[in-house]
Amino acid sequence: MQHAQDDHTAQRDEPSALSQALPIIMGYLPVGFAYGVLAVKAGLSLANTGLMSILVYAGSAQLIAVDMIGSGAPASSVIATAFIVNLRHVLFSAALSPFLASWPVRRIARFCFEMTDETFALHATRFHNRQLSARKTLAINLLAHTGWIVGGIAGAVAGGFVPDVKPLGLDYALPAMFAVLLVGQLLSPAHILAAVLGGSLALIISQTDASAYATLAGAVIAAATAAFTPWTSKRSS
């Protein structure tokens, strides 16, 4: 069950869209399911539950939103919170932009609609390895998004009946994918410094009142430090 990703043959031997999207789908199904259960409990109709997965498609923001709606928060503060929690996508979009510059505007717009932590992490690595097929890229996005929507609707339909998925270890699928992708990103001292700093800072920020900014602020400070310290810039490419 292994897909060799040797640098020389990376483009020809790129694994199928489904096998690359599979860890994301395995992670999204149970989390999406949990979202669906909580959304219905918070008073969302089945249609609105599904619509949020289709149009917003952002795990943590959706879970926070249904919690806020359930506790009677006003719409404006739910929307403002979603904006803050999802602001980190600015960084993802900018980081991938050099690889998208040759695409037609409509395709960029469609690609960015399905940008998540997980699809960003996967595509950043694929694009770096010159795996730039637009068809495969959009197929991966659609498969992952479908997994998220299906999980959410299944959760909403199942309602109170929540089978315990923990014994299967599926909640480890996304951390596992992050680990594999991170190993592939450790390309230079600057990259290693960025990863170590990003992890440490995100953990520290996650323990403060600014925890909604943990990923964004941690990654920005880490990347800026790694990119502009004399120690790393001399050796990095």
Binding site: N48, A58, S93, G169, D171, S200, A223
Partner: protein
């Protein structure tokens, strides 16, 4: 909140989520990127992955879990080692999943 208001909330959330996703990509699609920004963005993927991995492994319901009974800690060490040695993708993920399932069955 009635369903009509929830619908409007969903639409508002969709708008404020999509804008940060799409504006930077469209902006830099049509103009050159400053060298300093390019250099910064080249190390954004490892910085983001470090942040995501650390949080997904070491945070349990928002609280730090740095103890040895954190199954994800061991599983991610196994997954990373396999990914590094084999250059595989799905194999290391699957091995980690089996490890976590086994861990939970035993402990």
């Amino acid at each position: 909140m009635d369903q009509q208001t929830i619908l409007l909330t969903v639409l508002g959330m969709a708008a404020v989520t999509y804008l940060p996703r799409v504006v930077p990509a469209l902006f830099f699609a049509s103009r050159p990127m400053p060298e300093a920004l390019r250099r910064f963005l080249s190390v954004v993927p490892p910085a983001v992955l470090g942040a995501l991995l650390a949080q997904s492994v070491l945070l349990e319901k928002g609280a730090l879990n740095l103890s040895f009974d954190n199954a994800f800690l061991w599983a991610s060490a196994l997954t990373s080692l396999l990914a590094w040695r084999t250059k595989g993708f799905f194999g290391p993920v699957l091995a980690g999943l089996c490890f976590v399932a086994l861990w939970r069955a035993v402990f």
